[in-house]
């Protein structure tokens, strides 16, 4: 046990030693761990430094990226601005006036404007700062150079310039600016019509083409058109400007502008009209000359229209005669005659008017007119006398002095005659009536009219168509051949179909035909007693017709001796007094289709300006 005890004692001592050794070892290890900790602290410090460098590098990289993004954005903005110079001209105070358009999406800032004097030798250049003048996307900026901003630069009227606008982004727009004095323009003149009658208006179309492809006209242009006549200037040889051409017109490159002017030309036949057209301040030698000519006008041109927009140096006649011409010895008379019109600008004097009837038969007993004593109608005209110097010849002669017809006026020469007779009392279906007027402008004849004559075997209607002051009136006191109206005013007309012979009929259903001249508008029937429904029929040429049938026979006995269609119309606008013809005609039969009726009554509408 003692051994064991010692042994135990020994073993106890070893255990203590081992414990101490372990404790020492632990202490050693603890010291060794302390140095690791120290080392680790240093490593951490190094790592922190490295991490800072990495973070710095990343931040710097981010800055570079941001800068690149900004740069790209700026570049995109530059690509998105699209400026152009839309218009360039020079103001009256010789200032440049430009319009710059930005058709891009991004706003543009105008930095500078460069103006190069291309005419100077050597060329000179001027630069002006525009102080970042903004032009929003899809917007424009006007008055650059003149007011916003005003540049201290005066444009010369004889100098070619190149103008360049530069934006802050570096984009630019260039335009070349040429003054009229330095740019020859293509000019063409048209004289319409090239041949005119005296007193007629002539239109000059002056076409100016800006065919420059690389330059803009610096200013608006105004035409200079002159008309000269080859005759000696006098009141009857003159040109008067009626419509002036436009002025201050801008002609963009590649376009043509038509300047229209109208002249009234007076002159003798054969006169040459020379039109010289150019532009104010045009390049010397840049003009065009076109010629026209005054010719005589054939009466055929005016016979039918009788629209005296132009002058004819001769009298005109509009006639009235009955058809058929019947009656017996009852004393009935119908209306014959003519309205003499003076379409000239001078006064006309009428000395004589002759009505002649021509029978197709060689029978001296055919007495068409002047088989009784003519009955003058008051104021148609007021002076002179009607007589029958020979069978079938009725004549009006002046009294102490001729009848005066002022310019653009008309005078009726109407008379009542009757009692026709024929050889063998035969009817004559067709005979010619001739009209002659003798004036101080010469003698003028109107032919081509035709009528039917009932022989003396029995009563037959005398059918006339005329205008009257009253409805359904046969009274000569109410006859009216010339009706005056002011332009744009309403005129009221009583168009009458009359039978001067009682007891014989114009058959029911016969029609009064009224042809209202062109340009008269708003034609309205206001009364048509004795006729079926009357409706005006307008035609594409501007004229209007009223044709209405009698509801009952025109028996020559009141109220069926004269039936009237009353209508109103608005007179057209005129630039000077014009004479229009109102045709009163008829269609139908008399006495149960014995004759075809066809009276002619040509009345005058005289339209004045005021």
């Amino acid at each position: 046990m003692g051994t064991n005890t010692e042994g135990n004692k020994h073993s106890s001592g070893l255990e203590i030693l081992e414990v101490k050794k372990l404790a020492k070892n632990n202490q050693k290890h603890q010291r060794k761990g302390l140095s690791s900790v120290v080392g680790a602290v240093f490593m951490v410090l190094v790592m922190i430094g490295a991490l800072n460098v990495i973070l710095l590098a990343m931040r710097q990289q981010d800055s570079v990226t941001q800068t690149l993004i900004d740069k790209s954005s700026a570049s995109l903005g530059r690509l998105n601005e699209q400026i152009s110079i839309a218009d360039t001209r020079v103001t009256s105070s010789n200032k440049l006036n430009m319009t710059v358009i930005n058709s891009g999406a991004a706003a543009a800032k105008l930095a500078s404007i460069y103006i190069v004097n291309e005419t100077a030798s050597p060329k000179t250049q001027y630069r002006f700062d525009l102080n970042s003048l903004g032009v929003d996307g899809r917007q424009s900026k006007t008055n650059i150079g003149s007011t916003s901003p005003s540049l201290p630069f005066t444009v010369k009227s004889d100098t070619v310039y190149t103008v360049k606008v530069v934006t802050m982004a570096g984009n630019s727009a260039v335009v070349k600016l040429s003054p009229l004095k330095a740019l020859p323009l293509k000019m063409v003149a048209y004289v319409i019509p090239p041949s005119i009658t005296t007193g007629e208006n002539v239109t000059i179309l002056f076409a100016v083409t800006n065919n420059a492809t690389d330059t803009n006209l610096a200013q608006t242009v105004s035409p200079q058109i002159s008309a000269s006549l080859s005759c000696v200037a006098s009141p009857t040889c003159a040109s008067t400007l009626k419509v002036a051409a436009d002025t201050n017109v801008l002609i963009p490159k590649g376009t043509t502008y038509l300047f229209k002017s109208v002249y009234e030309i007076k002159g003798p036949v054969g006169t040459t009209i020379t039109f010289n057209a150019s532009l104010t301040n045009a390049k010397p030698g840049n003009y065009v000359i076109e010629k026209g000519r005054i010719i005589s006008i054939s009466s055929a041109n005016v016979a039918n229209t009788f629209l005296f927009a132009r002058l004819v140096q001769q009298p005109e006649m509009q006639v009235i005669f009955p058809n058929p011409f019947g009656g017996t010895g009852s004393g009935a008379q119908a209306v014959w005659g003519a309205i003499v019109s003076n379409p000239t600008e001078g006064t006309m004097h009428v000395r004589k008017l002759v009505i002649t009837g021509f029978s197709p038969r060689a029978n001296s007993n055919d007495k068409i007119i002047c088989n009784d004593v003519p009955t003058a109608i008051a104021n148609m005209p007021a002076t002179g006398t009607w007589s029958c110097p020979a069978t079938n010849t009725a004549i009006w002669k002046m009294g102490a002095s001729p009848v005066t017809i002022p310019a653009h006026m008309s005078q009726a020469f109407w008379v009542k005659m009757g009692a026709p007779s024929t050889g063998g009392s035969n009817d004559i279906e067709s005979l010619a009536v001739n009209y002659n007027v003798f004036t101080d402008w010469g003698q003028f004849t109107k032919t081509g009219y035709d009528m039917g004559l009932k022989g003396s075997a029995g009563n037959h209607p005398m059918v006339n168509a005329f205008s009257s002051k009253a409805i359904g009136s046969l009274s000569t006191a109410n006859l009216v051949g010339v009706m005056n109206v002011t332009q744009g005013q309403q005129i009221k007309v009583n168009a009458t179909l009359a039978n001067f012979v009682s007891g014989v009929n114009v058959d029911a259903g016969s029609r009064l035909v009224i042809d209202i001249p062109q340009d008269f508008s708003s034609v309205t029937v206001t009364s048509s007693t004795g006729f079926n429904a009357c409706v005006p029929t307008p035609f594409s040429d501007g004229s209007t017709q009223i044709a209405c049938a009698l509801t009952a026979a025109l028996s020559g006995t009141a109220p069926n001796d004269a039936r009237t269609i009353q209508f109103t119309a608005i007179a057209p606008a005129v630039d000077n007094t014009k004479l229009y013809v109102l045709y009163l005609l008829a269609d139908g039969t008399s006495e149960g289709n014995t004759f075809a009726i066809g009276p002619v009554g040509e009345m005058i509408f005289r339209v004045t300006t005021s």
């Binding site: 050693k28 120290v38 240093f42 190094v46 710095l56 570079v64 700062d129």
Partner: protein, 136 residues
């Protein structure tokens, strides 16, 4: 005792080495940071540099001459270092253009024929280049 001494020696050694390492590393990192910063600033300035050649005006005055109008549209002042015409250096005087201002560099003698198209190359000190064709 020896253990203590050795332990102290270990700690001291570790401290010295660690300190040296940290100092060296910081120095190296600082150098790298400065390099990165400078390089980045330089590149950013290069990118930010922006100018426009507004006009090149050719004229004759004691020989063929040209003047170049340049507008600095960037946020930094720039220095125009060289101008070349058709890849031939014609000007290298140097011209500083402050931010937002415009400068015309005259006169530069050139050997060109009227009507010819000239390639004008403008270079800044930072290395930005603009090549443009202008008609003499």
């Amino acid at each position: 005792m020896s253990n203590i001494v050795s332990a102290l020696l270990m700690i001291v050694a570790a401290g010295i080495i660690g300190t040296f390492l940290v100092v060296w590393a910081n120095s190296s990192f600082a150098f790298q940071s400065a390099q990165i910063t400078n390089q980045t600033a330089s590149r950013i300035n290069l990118v930010k540099e922006s100018f426009v050649v507004e006009d090149v005006w050719f004229y004759s005055s004691s020989g063929n001459k040209m003047s170049v109008t340049i507008r600095n549209t960037g946020d930094l002042a720039i220095t125009i270092s060289k101008i070349y015409v058709n890849n031939t250096s014609v000007w290298s005087t140097g011209q500083v253009i402050s931010r937002g201002s415009v400068v015309t560099i005259p006169p530069i003698a050139v050997s060109s024929t009227l009507g010819n198209v000239q390639n004008v190359w403008v270079q800044t000190q930072r290395g930005t280049n603009i090549h443009q064709d202008w008609k003499y």
